[in-house]
């Protein structure tokens, strides 16, 4: 009986080594996706933006101050409030934007609402992210050189002249020349967003309204009325920074974004 379990040498099959091509075909995706997986676990896999924190000015009297030039299209007015101490609702007002959630409006939205418009002298001006940068710079007195075609709504110019940090004659002249011809532009941002984006859901909480988008930040969830403890009870881990996008945070930590959203909605509904 025992001999029947033995194989003779001639019956043993030689297992061929895999070809280098085959080895590479396996190893390359493994290293690539494995590396991405490790980066996700470490919180380094950030694909939404470089960093919410603007770069600081490196030299001169303003060294160490956040640089308005580094405000991005994806920067929200809430983030600008955090880094430049300018209230988000003031920025929204200056750009004629009426919304229940000014902190969630991005600088890029200004570009979408205005874009290329006619200036007071008949020239074509561009009102967008650069206009927001210029507004922040003149309000806070931080140097910033805007492009010649950067335009500003009259309401923004009025705000700068009334509440701004002061500026040189040259800067004042340039600012006045950047005024757009249409003096009474106002935008109702929520109505437009609801019309265009059917995926956006609105949750009414006890104290505020939370409109979920792919860019909703923890700051906006807090503003909607939840406490940090409540958010962390949903996440099961410490919450990200106020300016961190919930979705990015969820993806980076291997959490289900839709589950988080549903549970936060539920908490808001209970209040």
């Amino acid at each position: 009986m025992e001999t029947s379990w033995r194989c003779s040498v001639s019956e043993t099959k030689k297992i061929a080594a895999p070809s280098a091509t085959m080895v590479l075909a396996v190893v390359i995706p493994v290293i690539m996706f494995g590396g991405i997986g490790i980066a996700q676990q470490a919180g380094w896999w950030q694909t939404e933006r470089g960093t919410a924190t603007p770069a600081t000015i490196q030299t001169g009297d303003f060294a160490g101050i956040y640089d308005p030039a580094d405000i991005r299209g994806s920067s929200t007015f809430g983030e600008i409030e955090t880094y430049f101490a300018l209230p988000a609702d003031l920025i929204a007002q200056a750009f004629g934007i009426r919304t229940e959630n000014p902190a969630g409006v991005t600088a890029k939205t200004v570009d979408e609402l205005y874009g290329e418009v006619e200036g007071i002298s008949g020239q074509t001006l561009d009102v967008g992210t650069d206009s927001v940068k210029l507004f922040v710079a003149r309000m806070s007195g931080i140097p910033f050189e805007a492009d010649e075609i950067t335009g500003m709504p009259e309401s923004a110019i009025d705000t700068i002249l009334t509440l701004g940090a002061g500026m040189s004659d040259e800067e004042r002249t340039a600012l006045l020349a950047s005024a757009v011809a249409d003096r009474s532009q106002e935008f109702e941002i929520l109505a437009a967003a609801e019309e265009e984006d059917h995926e956006t859901t609105t949750t009414t909480g006890g104290t505020a309204t939370l409109a979920w988008t792919g860019q909703t930040t923890f700051g906006q969830v807090l503003a909607a009325g939840l406490s940090q403890e409540q958010i962390e009870s949903v996440l099961g881990i410490p919450m990200g920074g106020r300016t961190e996008v919930v979705r990015t945070f969820a993806e980076a930590n291997g959490l289900s974004y839709s589950t988080i959203r549903t549970e936060i909605d539920a908490l808001l509904g209970q209040q």
Binding site: A20, L24, I31, W44, E48, P54, E199
Partner: protein
């Protein structure tokens, strides 16, 4: 002369990897646009192309190391991808170019059409000497892109980047120069194999350096070589493999087309040097 014939591996092994990465990037680019309209393809990344290209990591590296911030539009994921690509390059050379890069793959596929159209005249338009000199243009592009991006904080290469143009064709964000660059590469791709990789790709320039020190390199064994020059013909980057021992040429993209797995008819003559004797 007696020699043992090599067992030719299917071209579909590498091609499958290329297709997978091409489809992932293409779907990701489409998803990024769809997201702005509130639609998301499940399980597919909706990150911007800047987030999924290791060259973003190259142009932002200096700023990242000195200030901890990133060049506008660049994301931390690009630095991560640069790191992973670097690890792959140290191990196997520029496999990112030969196996992963969707734009390299596209040029390769266009080249298949070119080969059918022009037969033996395909990829012989540029004289070898000139080809070698032009290949250093990649380093000029690399130096310019890195220096200007570092100084200005603006992605200076983007308006001329055919790869960016390809995956943003429908977004309206592509500069005219980008369309022209893409058109040129597609057109030239019909007569020259991988023209952008050969003469202009700054990422290829970075990774090309790894050919000098990669752990597992491609080596030709002179003793069994029958001098058929099939390896030379197979090389998409015009490297004269038959005249070398270990391939240290900065143009090599580690595609392995010259090896005994593919073009070389003699077993263990042009091969990857991998541990355990697998070749």
């Amino acid at each position: 002369m007696v020699y043992t014939k090599s067992k030719r591996q299917s071209p579909w092994i590498r091609r499958t990897v290329q297709i997978v990465f091409f489809v992932l990037i293409a779907l990701g680019a489409v998803n990024h646009t769809l997201e702005e309209h509130g639609i998301v393809i499940p399980w597919i990344s909706n990150a911007s192309l800047h987030a999924l290209c290791p060259f973003g990591g190259v142009v932002t590296l200096w700023q990242f190391l000195t200030t901890g911030t990133l060049v506008r539009q660049i994301h931390l994921s690009a630095v991560v991808l640069l790191g992973i690509t670097g690890v792959l390059a140290v191990l196997f050379g520029p496999v990112f170019c030969g196996w992963i890069c969707p734009f390299g793959s596209l040029q390769e596929w266009i080249g298949k059409v070119g080969k059918k159209l022009f037969g033996k005249r395909y990829n012989t338009l540029v004289p070898a000497k000139l080809d070698r000199v032009l290949s250093y243009l990649r380093y000029v592009v690399l130096g310019w892109a890195v220096y200007m991006t570092t100084v200005t904080g603006v992605l200076v290469f983007q308006p001329y980047d055919p790869y960016y143009a390809l995956f943003n064709l429908w977004t309206g964000e592509v500069a005219l120069t980008g369309y022209i660059a893409l058109g040129l590469v597609v057109g030239l791709g019909l007569i020259i194999e991988r023209p952008f990789c050969k003469y202009a790709c700054p990422m290829g320039a970075v990774l090309g350096v790894s050919n000098l020190f990669r752990v597992f390199g491609i080596k030709r064994r002179e003793s069994s070589c029958i001098n058929c020059k099939l390896c030379d013909k197979a090389c998409p980057m015009n490297i004269e493999v038959s005249g070398k021992g270990r391939i240290l040429d900065h143009r090599c993209i580690s595609c392995g087309e010259c090896t005994s797995d593919r073009a070389c008819p003699v077993i263990k003559t042009v091969e990857w040097k991998l541990p355990g004797g697998a070749a």
